[in-house]
């Protein structure tokens, strides 16, 4: 059976339909999960899409942390469920304490909207399982607060435990160690600033995001006890 993906929607989230379309194109089914929903029962994996949850008031993700669905995401993650936060979703995961560090304003104080090259740094996450480290992907970024920062001890842990999932090939926003995405120690919770769903069709200029989303859906299939989607139409 195709894995079922829960796509979380806070007031101000705006990439949910792009994510639904991208994962459906790869053979999964998807449902939108409103922020007041206290449970993620019935989903094999969860995506926190991009946007401006709660208007980015105070700090991006700072208020989304208190939503009932965020508690459900924490519970889902603690049980080993695959979770990926994209852009604003990454910011929510750091504010909620599900991933370490913080996303600051870009070094140049500019909103950056462009397709950049990123490199898979670790295959030890649900977003990159099976991918060769060093694989380069062209994926759009679209953010003002994407400058990843953390203390020295956290950075040493991320490096030592192979938890830096993707890096920018060239410096773009001031992120420490060119970090574009990280994961938790279990590898099942990933946050990244680039938008794989916006690189999911040749018409968008790149299909490279499908490699990441495909790996994520495979992890969802494993979580549901089903078989891989590798042979599904559209892959």
């Amino acid at each position: 059976m195709a894995p079922r993906i829960g796509v979380v929607v806070y007031p101000g989230t705006n990439c949910e339909h792009d994510v639904v379309r991208a994962v459906e194109q790869l053979g999964a089914s998807a449902g939108l999960v409103w922020h007041t929903t206290p449970s993620l029962a019935g989903y094999d994996a969860v995506v926190l899409p991009g946007g401006f949850a709660h208007g980015d008031y105070l700090r991006p993700g700072a208020l989304a942390r208190f939503a009932p669905v965020t508690a459900a995401v924490a519970e889902f993650a603690a049980a080993g469920g695959p979770v990926v936060g994209i852009c604003n979703g990454f910011q929510v995961l750091t504010e909620a304490g599900l991933l370490p560090g913080a996303l600051q304003k870009n070094r140049g104080l500019r909103f950056i909207c462009e397709t950049v090259e990123i490199e898979v740094s670790s295959a030890g996450s649900v977003l990159t399982a099976g991918m060769a480290p060093g694989t380069r992907l062209r994926i759009p970024i679209n953010h003002f607060e994407g400058n990843y920062t953390c203390d020295g001890q956290t950075l040493a842990e991320l490096r030592g435990q192979d938890r830096i999932v993707v890096r920018y090939v060239d410096e773009v926003n001031g992120s420490i160690d060119r970090i574009a995405g990280i994961c938790n120690s279990g590898g099942n919770v990933v946050g990244l600033m680039p938008h794989p769903e916006r690189a999911s069709d040749p018409l968008l200029g790149s299909e490279d995001g499908n490699a990441l989303l495909g790996a994520f859906l495979d992890a969802a299939s494993r979580a549901s006890g089903g078989s891989s989607l590798a042979g599904a139409p559209g892959r």
């Binding site: 105070l58 700090r59 913080a102 203390d151």
Partner: protein
Amino acid sequence: MSALTGDPAAPGPGGGFDAVVEVRLRAGIADPEGATIERALPALGFTGVTGVRAGKSFRFHLDAPDAETASAQAATVADRLLANPVIEESTVTVTPSPAGPAARTPS
């Protein structure tokens, strides 16, 4: 009556305390906003201004029996919501409220 005694530890005539929480980036965390402001100041003729740091301040009214309780509550609000301790730090100031929220809110 603190209005008469001016006791800074007692609630003011407003029935509590006014809190000001200042949030700023921790020392050592790059502050591109502050740096940009600093670079703009010479255009106004200020050439001796250094160490500019940008931040936010929050003001709110607290119903609390004494200044110590009000400070503790404001500090918790600051630590758990207003500041992200990964990159930010905060300072809290509470003073007896000269008037309650209704009196201070224009209608």
